[in-house]
Amino acid sequence: MVRRTLLLLAPMLVLVAATVAGQDLEELLTQVGEPYAEAYSEPLIHAFGANQNTGLYHTAHIPAGKLTFSIGVKVMGTYLNESDQSFQKVIENVDLGDYLPEGHPNAGDTGDIVLAGPTVFGSTEEVGTGTAYVNGVPVYQVEGIPGLLDTRWVPLFAPEMQVGGLFGLKGSIRWLPELNLSDYGKTKYLGLGIQWSPNFLLSPTFPVDLMVGYFGQEVELGTFIQTDASSVYAAASKRFGIADVYGGLAWESSTMKVDYTQIDTDVPVSFEKDGRMTNRVTIGATLNLGVMINAEMGIGKMVVYNLGLMFGM
């Protein structure tokens, strides 16, 4: 009973935590314009998409005529490059009138803009800056924003359910109930996937299990952040005692769209960026100890880790 309650409660707590983090991020971003926000958010954009496309399978074994069911939670984490905790974005040879306050003596000049400071995962103590230069001389500087969370680990939690076992097919769903929060809007997390193993068409002595699959997901945090991610993959696994060792290749994409209104200018800001991770090699292992515990690593342009805990048969 306690275990079931925890299983039901954990995803809700995760959703609330994610929503609070999203609200904090929105509060920070509304203080800056688009170029700053885009550079500041880059590590989040690329890590979030990579996380979404992680932990999509923990074995390639799917029975052809035996119903299987499992439910559990997947915890993903992208380990960022050290340099992703700060950024420096330079916009050269621009009309400074677009960036300086009205009436500034250099508003009519052509100059350079340097935006620099912690990223969303940089120092929470340090505040970034936006500096305007004319001929190498800084003529105006405005404060940016601090980091949201000082870490190189970008986590994502996903409750997941799988049903399969007919003709080598298995369906997966990642889902969290919608929350409607005042001042923020609805939060939503939905992912659907399908896997197919051709092993029932092969010789029973075929040495490994094979599987191909697709998974598509979307996350919305109010109207502020919307993400889409999808992955097409092929995998193989082999059982050694209580462990399934598995590996695979994936071709994937992800997009994050950010919308907000800058507070001091009342200007709407909207930008959309594709995730950096477009393909990966996955290696991992699942221990079958009554519950299934899996650990894996996805290696592509980003490096992503996954731990999973699945109950079922």
Binding site: E42, Y79, Y133, G136, P138, V139, Q141, A243, A285
Partner: protein, 218 residues
């Protein structure tokens, strides 16, 4: 036994993987806009003017009159220069009062650079330095040398001061020079003995008016 072996192998594999991989950089890390020779000449000119303001402190200190350990602090509160300079005076290798000293050191404290405001309404340039002076009280002169850094927005310049000669009551350095390097461009600023200094970068020469900061290419 087989189970334990399997788990150990997995732990070893996990450790090996954790240790060996890293994500690509995703945050922009653009180089700063390239500076021109003239940009660096302007910056070195402002630095030279700040030096002219600060240098007399080692010779004409007028703050606290008694410091048995030779240590003083001078506070700049001008519109162009703000902050504290730490000073140490000695005579014959022993701490002394400023008015009898034959040697002094001047420096900015850790994390407490001077703030320069060379552009009206502009942002502070942060000046950190450590200078030494050899003082001749009888002649009323001092010769200053040392080094420091000047943070100009996102740029970090370094400078050295060599043989900067000042006189008690004098308006301008009698001689000496400063080298100033920013983004790989080095300017040599030579004090002409009057209200001008000569700035050279490669084969380009400017005359700097120390009174108003005007730079004229020669």
């Amino acid at each position: 036994m087989r189970k334990i072996f399997t788990i150990l192998m997995m732990l070893l594999l996990a450790g090996w993987l954790l240790a060996g991989c890293s994500s690509e950089e995703t945050a922009p890390n653009d180089p700063l806009p390239e500076l021109t020779n003239e940009d660096v000449a302007h910056q070195s000119g402002y630095m030279a003017m700040a030096l002219v303001e600060m240098a007399p402190v080692s010779l004409e200190f007028s703050g606290k009159a008694d410091a048995s350990d030779g240590r003083y602090q001078y506070t700049f509160a001008d519109p162009e220069i703000q902050g504290d300079v730490q000073l140490y005076f000695e005579q014959g290798d022993a701490p002394s009062g400023y008015d009898v000293a034959d040697y002094s050191q001047a420096w900015t404290g850790d994390e407490a650079p001077l703030a320069l405001y060379p552009i009206e309404g502009g942002i502070a340039w942060l000046l950190a330095f450590s200078l030494e002076s050899v003082i001749d009280q009888g002649a009323g002169t001092a010769v200053i040398g040392g080094a420091g850094t000047l943070t100009v927005g996102n740029y970090e310049a370094a400078f050295t001061v060599v043989g900067l000669a000042i006189e008690r009551g004098g308006d301008w350095p009698a001689g000496g020079y400063m080298t100033f390097t920013n983004e790989g461009i080095t300017a040599t600023v030579t004090f002409d003995g009057d209200n001008t200094a000569t700035i050279e970068i490669g084969d380009i020469t400017w005359m700097l008016n120390l009174s108003n900061g005007t730079l004229t290419e020669l």
